[in-house]
């Protein structure tokens, strides 16, 4: 590994942060989206949906409390997709080439971009959790610390998924389709909005789909961590998916092996 890796990583992070700060609308949208769910959707659903005691909760909880970890994961899901959207945009403008002609290895460059994106998503999550606290969603105080590793892992996994998708998408126009075909199905077919056992009552098939959805495990990892517990199954799934998606993304961006090698035009 060349010297100056830290410099390169900090430079990539600084660029991501600067761009994020320059696009204030993006931060606002990222914050308003989960708040709308929390303030409106959850308030309406509260009356409809009864929740029994499910781990990690030790008492009956309000629907708002149940849905909060799901919304946290949603922030990270959108952030992961958005940073991959910026990769596709970079590729169209040529900024991607600037990144890829750097003498550092590709996995390192992609990894730095991924980590920078996760840092941005964690800032968003804590802003959301702070507002939610005033809304009466008060997990144990240590939960706010314990959730950090969970947020890092789930953020990395969702970001790596976005990275992989960005390598497979040719143009920005196609990305709208990905939003519809990836974000919405992943979010709705998960434990973010309703517990899995509830799902089982209406459709066992849907329950099984939710149970294998990596996003479900990101949600559960965050939910358990917020209440000072570890969901080992979810941890294993998130780690496995992280390795898988990142490996696939590096493969796709590698000039020796990836699909780019034989593709006419490539990253313009």
């Amino acid at each position: 590994m060349r010297r100056g890796g830290l410099t390169a990583f900090l430079g990539i992070s600084r660029r991501e942060t600067l761009r994020f700060v320059n696009q204030r609308g993006r931060f606002l949208a990222a914050l308003v989206r989960p708040l709308v769910w929390l303030f409106i959707f959850a308030a309406g659903f509260r009356a409809v949906l009864g929740l029994s005691i499910t781990p990690p909760y030790q008492t009956y909880v309000l629907y708002e409390v149940y849905v909060t970890p799901g919304l946290v994961a949603m922030i990270q899901l959108f952030n992961g997709m958005q940073s991959s959207l910026s990769m596709v945009y970079d590729r169209e403008t040529g900024a991607m080439r600037t990144l890829l002609v750097s003498p550092f290895p590709r996995w390192f460059l992609l990894g730095s971009k991924l980590v920078a994106g996760v840092v941005v998503s964690i800032i968003q999550v804590y802003t959301f959790l702070a507002i939610a606290w005033f809304w009466g969603i008060e997990p144990p105080i240590w939960g706010y610390i314990a959730v950090i590793p969970a947020l890092i892992l789930s953020g990395l996994m969702l970001g790596a998924m976005g990275l992989f998708l960005s390598s497979a998408i040719r143009q920005l126009e196609n990305f709208a389709g990905v939003m519809n075909f990836v974000i919405f199905p992943m979010f709705f077919a998960s434990s973010a909005l309703y517990p899995l056992w509830r799902m089982n009552e209406s459709s066992p098939l849907l329950h099984d789909i939710c149970a294998v959805n990596p996003f479900t495990h990101a949600v559960e990892l965050i939910r358990f961590a917020l209440y000072l517990q570890v969901n080992w199954t979810s941890l294993a799934v998130v780690l496995g998916c992280l390795a898988g998606f990142f490996g696939a993304a590096v493969f796709m961006y590698d000039p020796q092996k990836g699909l780019w090698a034989r593709r006419k035009g490539g990253p313009a």
């Binding site: 100056g4 890796g5 600067l18 040529g94 034989r262 313009a268």
Partner: protein
Amino acid sequence: MTPALQIDHVSHDFGAVQALKDVSLTVRRGEFTALLGVNGAGKTTLFSLITRLYNNRSGVIRVGGHDLRREPSQALARLGVVFQSRAMDADLTIRQNLLYHASLHGIPGRLARPRIDEVLAQVDLLDRADARVTALSGGQSRRAEIARALLHRPELLLLDEATVGLDVKSRAEVLALTRRLIAQDNVSALWATHIMDEIEPTDDLVILHRGAVLRHGLAADIAGSDGLTRAFLDLTGVTA
């Protein structure tokens, strides 16, 4: 002395389309080498191979003596590139863009800052350092990209149709700047273009057509008595 760039027997295909056929060429140190070809001749594919966006699967590409496949880091560190498409972050300032680029080469801020002033002075943009890229004219943003390409003191500058989309005056400025840098800093340049006016009789010239090198030599020799345009049309069979 090892040449700045050496390409030996490189071919490349995209499925059934053969984009490059057994291309060999050399860019000597401190020289301006023009790569002339019509659109679709394979110039951008060749540049994508040299910058390792694609891997060369046949032949060898060496930058400053370093094999791009075996020592990609060493080779890429010696390259400064100006891409055909604009490649700066439009919502950041020139200085922020250059700092980002410096970090991609592992140059920390304290070393990068004075160097940035230095290269911006070279391209006559020091007073615009804190302007956002969106606020620059086409010629200015090209010059900023050249400054960026110079930042890490490369041995070889690659410029892919660097004057496309510029007006006559800016075009002349960018070209003159590149030639001046070669004379002053002893860098070498591979200048891809389809505009014959940009080539001087004393330049090293490579004519690329349909993926193959047709001629490689001194521009004056290739042009002969009829001039470069005539010679190019005769060689390629392209009708004017």
